[in-house]
Amino acid sequence: MPIIDVHAHVGRWQFHLTTGDADTNLAQMDRYGIDLQIVSASEAVVYDAVAGNAALREALESRPRLYGYAVVNPNRIEESAADLRRCLDTGRFVGAKIHTHYPGRLPGCREMAEAFDVVAEAGVPLLLHTWGREVTLLPELVEARPGLRVIMGHAGGDAWREAAHAAAACDRLYLEHCRTATDAGRVAYAREAGVPVERLLFGTDATLIDPCVSLGVIRDARFTEEELERVLWRNAAELFGLKVGTDLPPHM
């Protein structure tokens, strides 16, 4: 059974830890049996979206197990819209990533609305950093944009209960539970709130966070074998249009 990690990064973070380069991602993936990883450039997330995306384009050229998210900066929307198209044209990027902390923009503001429009227009999944009660705005924002599909990265962080109810209210919202503080019962709560297993995704936040943290969350969620298959890869393969077989190379 393969594993697809829908939330990862390439590059350094500004903390006392070793994050390495794209080959470090591959080494960690080998260690834990992760087959494919969808990554954004940390440089693009925290500093310069266009420059970081460009560096990631180069890193992806020789690493077929990594696919890319193009980071969109809501404060540079025209520049980011053009850059998103440039990245998607390579065929190695399969989605967009928007952080909220580093650009200082949350769902509900004008800039984020425009960024959502850009991603909806591009027709690719959006990995959104979610960390707070603003997640309650997402069902309405997504419903207003046909075709937009949003992965709620970190499943709302501390607002994981609100995130669960938001995801239950909109079938184009997905939950991905990676984070350092692994509050118990988040997955069970989401399912009780009405989020089907088909909208739960596996993500790690590698190489900022060691993948074993998210694997531990999966273990403690006590999924059945069939559910495990959905969460670990099948849901992601369907969302991103990745063809993954047990004996075939992955294809777009």
Partner: protein, 252 residues
């Protein structure tokens, strides 16, 4: 590139490298902000299904409602639980009674005092907090300390104190290491050391004596924490120190 089938995942089942002799961060009882309470029986059952063999535990009544009654409840409840050792607490908002509380705890043979500065809204410079800490250190108690070690660590230095920081995040690791270099009695739990080499960096910089295991059961998932120890690139004796021996030394 072929995708390897993973008929079974190694990480899905606990291994011997996940055995924990002592977990220093366990509670039981109501917590009104959580959506569900887990009482002592539930916590014990939860631990029995985990790789955790023993734990230092306390009732939530002490920190949230009544420290004297909570301590008495902890002592009474855990008298019949051989795998659980009682932890005491003092409410720093009512430090005028701290001497009585600490006398009661030391008379009962309680060695560990847990502080809840976050729940009780205490700052490092508050007179009540400082008073409680002084009394506890004078009695040779081990402090189980919540909050940010960057704020609470400096006032505790130079006093020969044994302090276990329960909320050290990987992002704050450099500050903790600077403190621990000078303080042989400072330890932290591995709970939020989620970086790919956070545990290794502590071992390399200050040695395994500065880490212990603390899961925050039942409020956090256990498997992410035990998997971090299992997959940490550290010698077996360092893993044993973190999982068991460092706490045994404090109990001796």
């Amino acid at each position: 590139m072929s995708v390897s089938p993973h008929e079974t995942y190694a990480w899905l089942q606990p291994s011997a490298e996940e055995h924990i002799g002592w977990d220093v961060d366990v509670m039981y009882g109501p917590w009104p902000r959580h959506h569900r309470d887990i009482h002592l029986d539930g916590v014990r059952a939860h631990l029995r299904r985990s790789p955790v063999a023993g734990a230092l535990a306390l009732s939530t009544r002490g920190p949230l409602f009544d420290d004297a009654a909570g301590n008495a409840e902890t002592l009474r409840d855990l008298a019949d639980c051989p795998e659980l050792l009682p932890v005491g607490t003092v409410d720093v908002r009512d430090a005028m009674t701290a001497e009585d509380r600490l006398d009661e705890l030391t008379a009962a043979g309680v060695r560990f005092l847990r502080l809840f500065t976050c729940e009780q809204a205490a700052e490092p410079g508050f007179p009540g907090y400082r008073h409680v800490v002084k009394l506890a250190i004078d009695r040779g108690m081990v402090l189980l300390h919540d909050g940010d070690p960057r704020r609470f660590g400096p006032p505790l230095t130079g006093r020969g104190a044994d302090v276990i920081f329960l909320d050290l995040h990987a992002y704050l690791l450099a500050d903790f290491l600077l403190l621990a270099r000078e303080e042989p009695g400072f330890k932290a739990t591995t709970r939020m050391l989620s970086g790919p080499d956070s545990i290794e960096r502590v071992i390399d910089a200050v040695g395994p004596r500065h880490l212990v295991f603390g899961s925050r059961t039942p409020f956090m998932d256990i498997s992410p924490q035990t998997l971090k120890l299992r997959y940490a690139d550290i010698p077996p004796d360092a893993r044993a120190a973190i999982a068991t021996k460092n706490v045994e030394e404090l109990l001796a």
